[in-house]
């Protein structure tokens, strides 16, 4: 496998050259182009090691999400008997970044997953209220194993090395390494100052590892557009 990302940071396009025997897993709907001989198969995003119950749960969620909208829990599997190319791109205006997984896990906010290759297992992580209030969606996607992962953002992606604690505004999280933990906090000291600062709720990460943040957030943009509508 070799890959190339062009048009970063605003309109990233990922090109992956697949060798025989390799399998590229990509977010449903993200394919831009492919060589005709590259096969595509739609699969449910439940993870290879998921049990029966997990699969039923995943299918139910996947189907509901597909109907009501939101990120898809279906993925497409690309493979080829002879070397072939696949181009994929996310929907949002932003960057695509590449990360090598070396046994650890990586958690992405909803919609950040673009593609993966290698011995990578995927599972949905129910974030609960914490995840909902952090504006990262109710579910996050956790990938683990060894291989390659590509993920996207709204805006540019900044990598931050955390050693101790780090504060991130909600809506700006793209992903974080699994050994990190986060909790929600008010941005300012009191409730009033927290609300008036325009920052509201923030995420406080602790531990050692990397977090990836995006330079723009969708709710802010949508709010601005909504104000412009007649």
């Amino acid at each position: 496998m070799d890959h190339q990302i062009t048009h970063n940071p605003s309109f990233a396009l990922l090109e992956v050259n697949i060798q025989p025997g390799e399998l590229l897993v990509a977010e449903a709907g993200s394919m831009v182009a492919k060589d005709s001989h590259v096969g595509m198969e739609v699969k449910m995003n439940a993870g290879a090691k998921a049990g029966f119950f997990d699969k039923v749960k995943a299918f139910f969620i996947a189907f509901v999400r597909k109907i009501i909208g939101g990120e898809s829990f279906f993925v497409n599997h690309f493979s080829a008997a002879q070397p072939g190319r696949v181009w994929v791109a996310p929907t949002l205006i932003g960057q695509v970044a590449h990360k090598k997984l070396g046994g650890g896990s990586f958690v992405m906010s909803s919609g950040a997953f673009v593609a993966s290759m290698g011995d990578v297992d995927m599972k949905m992580k129910f974030g609960g209220l914490k995840s909902l209030f952090s504006k990262e969606g109710l579910f996050m996607l956790e990938v683990s194993g060894t291989g390659d992962v590509w993920f996207n953002s709204y805006g540019g992606i900044e990598e931050i090395e955390v050693n101790g604690t780090y504060i991130l505004d909600n809506g700006h999280l793209v992903g974080y390494e699994g050994q990190l933990e986060y909790s929600l906090k008010k941005a300012g000291g009191g409730f009033i100052s927290s609300m008036t600062s325009g920052e509201g709720i923030v995420l406080e990460f602790s531990g050692q590892g990397k977090i990836y943040m995006q330079s723009r957030n969708i709710p802010s943009f949508v709010g601005w557009v909504a104000n412009m509508l007649p």
Binding site: T6, M31, S36, H37, V42, T91, L92, V225
Partner: protein, 224 residues
């Protein structure tokens, strides 16, 4: 005539330099700026019929002709969406352009709406594709897109998501088809319909799908 594209790929603008007497044909509303010796004339090129056909294809009824009077001049043109612009030399075998991508061309290029029929209708690209033909070599068109533009070589076979198509050499044969073998798989795969190209030639794609982006943002807006 010389095209110079700046601010690629997110906010591209084309600076067109014309010798005295040279003319540029541009989509209505594409002009951003021009030197004072440029003469702009608005017309429905090809008559009312051609104008109407253009309008249905998502282009404008009227087009503007810019002429450099008494010496060289320049015109700046751009596309309405955030994204890229490229200039393409129209080959002898003609060039196909996705209807909303056309920005401007040499006067020697004739661009007409081609009824795509059900095929393009289902492909979600609107009813029309445009066909540009050049009166001779060296004639160029400017095309704009949502996202970055990448030129691809179709060497035998290539599959492109219809929402990402910008332009292709007319010498290529193409058909739209389901992305997967069954309708349910096509729907779940999220790819819907794709364009299957065959032959030897170039295909230009845009790295973002405007309809998908619009749907994603639109869904989050408050109901009107």
């Amino acid at each position: 005539m010389n095209f110079n594209v700046m601010y690629r790929p997110s906010g591209a603008m084309a600076q067109v330099q014309l010798e005295g007497g040279e003319q540029l044909l541009a989509e209505a509303g594409a002009m951003i700026g021009m030197s004072p010796n440029m003469n702009m004339e608005t017309q429905a090129k090809g008559g009312v019929g051609a104008g109407l056909k253009r309008m249905f294809s998502g282009e404008s009824f009227f087009q503007n002709t810019f002429t450099a009077m008494n010496g060289p001049g320049e015109v700046l043109v751009a596309h309405s969406l955030p994204g890229d612009i490229v200039s393409i030399e129209v080959p002898q075998s003609a060039l196909m352009i996705q209807s909303s991508s056309f920005i401007a061309s040499h006067m020697g290029v004739t661009t007409s709406a081609k009824v795509g029929g059900f095929k393009t209708f289902f492909a979600g690209e609107g009813l029309f594709a445009l066909r540009s033909e050049a009166s001779g070599p060296g004639q160029q068109v400017l095309v704009g897109a949502f996202g970055g533009i990448t030129e691809m070589q179709c060497d035998g076979n290539l599959v492109i998501d219809t929402g990402h198509l910008v332009a292709w050499d007319a010498g290529l044969t193409y058909k739209t088809q389901k992305s997967a073998s069954g309708w349910l798989a096509s729907f779940l795969s999220g790819e819907g319909l794709v364009c299957q190209f065959e032959g030897q030639g170039r295909v230009w794609i845009q790295s973002r799908n405007p309809r998908e982006y619009g749907t994603l943002i639109g869904r989050q807006l408050p109901p009107a």
